[in-house]
């Protein structure tokens, strides 16, 4: 197994140019996902999906300006979201065909020639990343450019990012770099800077793609404390087993009493 590779997306230097979205689309030959005007900000892809593997979020935050009554845009937050390539990946756990697999780079990839479009990975993902593509019928998501990695290249989004907001590399190195960066930002007075998905102790065992955010995760459309659903799977099977036994017992109970099989009529 090669070293675990990952993304560190430092949103403090994201300028919202969407070069990552475009580079991803072009390299991976992802179909059009519709020209939608969201009327929220400069975001016209909305969220990650079967045909959107990088999604740049724009958050316009307005706050009362102390000097007057007018509310102006206080700041813009921009962030390029992507599949988290979880250590404990729910999509991978629940995939019944083995189409989803873990690569030698510790990333999570769908094999398009195996996926039968059962759709189970879609509601299993705690981040709402993977989706089934209408018309195609299969599930799709970011591969962290598995093909480029095999060729020794960095993923297209990281390559295209003009500000190095998207950094690609061995996950351990990225985590160190991120820790330095967040410490620096906070020292500079940016108290809201925080890392998201970097901790191996979180509900998904740490994300292979983690972020430096400048506000709470939910502001960016990210779940604040995601947990891999399969963590509770043993308990679920125990409850289901108890229910199955109870059902069998209840049916048996219903047959207690005099047999009428050979009786009347």
């Amino acid at each position: 197994m090669a070293e675990r590779m990952g993304f560190f997306t430092d949103t403090s230097v994201c300028i919202g140019c969407k070069a990552c979205e475009v580079a991803c689309k072009e390299w991976n030959q992802i179909p059009d996902d519709g020209f939608v005007f969201e009327a929220t900000s400069y975001d016209n892809t909305g969220m990650l999906g079967a045909s959107t593997w990088r999604h740049v979020a724009f958050i316009e935050q307005s706050r009362p300006v102390l000097a007057g009554d007018d509310e102006g845009v206080d700041r813009w937050l921009m962030s390029s979201d992507v599949c988290k390539h979880c250590t404990h990946a729910a999509c991978l756990d629940v995939c019944p065909t083995g189409a989803l697999f873990r690569t030698e780079f510790d990333t999570v990839v769908v094999q398009a020639d195996i996926c039968n479009g059962c759709g189970y990975c879609v509601p299993a993902c705690p981040y709402g990343v993977i989706d089934r593509r209408e018309g195609d019928g299969r599930a799709w998501k970011c591969t962290m450019c598995y093909d480029r990695q095999l060729g020794g290249l960095e993923p297209a989004c990281a390559k295209a990012c003009p500000t190095d907001s998207i950094q690609f590399g061995p996950l351990d190195e990225l985590r160190e770099r991120a820790e330095e960066r967040v410490t620096r930002l906070r020292a500079d007075g940016n108290e809201e800077a925080r890392l998201y998905g970097e901790s191996p102790g979180d509900g998904v065992g740490g994300a292979g793609a983690f972020f430096l955010l400048l506000d709470e995760p939910e502001v960016y459309g990210l779940p604040p404390d995601p947990v891999v659903t399969t963590r509770d799977l043993p308990a679920m099977w125990r409850w289901a087993g108890a229910a199955a036994l109870s059902a069998a017992g209840a049916v048996a109970l219903a047959f207690l009493g005099p047999s009428r099989g050979g009786g009347r009529r």
């Binding site: 969201e38 629940v94 995939c95 019944p96 065909t97 083995g98 195996i114 996926c115 039968n116 479009g117 059962c118 189970y120 879609v122 509601p123 705690p126 709402g128 089934r132 019928g137 299969r138 160190e176 820790e179 330095e180 967040v182 410490t183 020292a187 108290e191 925080r194 890392l195 901790s199 191996p200 102790g201 939910e218 502001v219 960016y220 459309g221 990210l222 404390d225 995601p226 659903t229 399969t230 509770d232 799977l233 308990a235 409850w239 289901a240 087993g241 229910a243 199955a244 036994l245 109870s246 059902a247 069998a248 048996a252 219903a254 047959f255 047999s259 009428r260 099989g261 009347r264 009529r265």
Partner: protein, 339 residues
């Protein structure tokens, strides 16, 4: 049936322009909920057939065998049609994967379909009756599993209303399955022979009702999608039909009309339950509050005990670089580093 809104304080939360965090389940209507109904009906019918065989009730035995086989094969066909690539249906059986309830379920359903078909064929044709009976006995295991694994299937997702209900859902599904199978068996068996079917139906209706009630009470805020909107209407209809049908089943032995009424009500009730559960899951995933609010509460609860924690969600913010400590206390790091 009156049902006030639960007394939950209005949830305050932040989100990305109100967009969902999760992707709603892509499973279609009527395929998925009808499969849930048919699979449950098939599984519980197998249990009825086994008991009917063991206690010498050939009429009930035959009806239940046919219902079990028909339910499993029709259900499997619906599942195949539900796939994005139906021609790859057999990919379900290329591996056995314990971490995937759908993989486990595919094998359970494959066994249930094959065994229940063999049990039916043995009974109807009289060819190799012993083999048919052996297959029937085996469905005594696969049947109850078929009726309950689907609860694990939906619970093992990130959908809050489904996942958080993983304790009660199997009992709800088992009850619904028994009510459905009892209904079909009482409709398809002469009244004098259908006594146990009526009892199964009544017990199932009671189980489903109690499990549903417990579930909604325990879930509170996260269970809101079960009470509101289209899912709420479907589940209220299901509750009325199931309770009514269950009560009717107790007295349905008296007349053909009562039997028909009870059987139809219970069948409709079970179907409404399945459609309602799917719809509640969709609603739960579609509204970010069900995802964000419980997680934020969990984080806040985890960070509160830290005596002088950072006011910005201490437990979450930081952790010691290179250290394996990720508890709330690690939060002090950045303050120290910053000063």
């Amino acid at each position: 049936m009156t049902r006030e809104r639960a007394v939950v304080p209005e949830a305050e939360f932040r989100s990305y322009y109100g967009r969902p965090v999760l992707k709603p389940p892509v499973w279609h209507e009527p395929h998925m909920p009808t499969y849930l109904y048919l699979g449950g009906m098939s599984g519980a019918s197998s249990a009825i057939a086994v008991m009917a065989r063991l206690t010498g009730r050939p009429r009930l035995d035959r009806t239940a065998r046919v219902a079990a086989a028909a339910g499993a094969s029709l259900g499997a066909a619906l599942l195949a049609a539900e796939l994005g690539r139906p021609e790859r249906f057999l990919n379900m059986l290329r591996i056995f994967k314990p971490t995937s309830p759908m993989s486990v379920g595919s094998w359970i359903l494959a066994a249930q379909s094959g065994l229940s078909a063999a049990a039916m064929t043995g009974d109807l044709t009289g060819v190799l009756p012993a083999a048919g009976d052996a297959a029937l006995l085996a469905t005594g295991v696969t049947g109850p599993l078929t009726a309950t694994y689907t609860a694990v299937l939906v619970a093992d997702t990130a959908v809050p209303a489904w996942h958080e209900a993983y304790r009660e859902l199997p009992f709800l599904f088992a009850g619904s399955a028994m009510a459905a199978a009892g209904a079909i068996a009482m409709l398809g068996t002469p009244r004098a022979h259908a006594g146990p079917a009526r009892a199964v139906a009544a017990l199932g209706a009671a189980t489903e009702t109690v499990a549903g009630e417990v579930m909604e009470r325990r879930l509170g805020f996260v269970g809101e999608p079960y009470r509101t909107g289209r899912a709420g209407r479907l589940l209220r209809a299901a509750r009325a039909l199931t309770v009514g049908g269950g009560l009717l089943a107790v007295v349905a032995g008296r007349s053909r009309a009562l039997t028909a009424l009870a059987g139809v009500a219970l069948t409709a009730g079970s179907l409404c339950t399945r459609f309602g559960i799917l719809e509640a899951g969709r609603a739960s995933a579609a509204d970010p509050k069900y995802t964000v609010v419980p997680q934020r509460r969990r984080l806040d609860a985890a960070s509160t005990p830290a005596p002088d924690g950072d006011d910005l969600h201490a437990g979450r913010l930081t952790h010691d670089a290179g250290s394996d400590s990720d508890g709330p206390h690690a939060a002090h790091l950045t303050r120290d580093a910053g000063s």
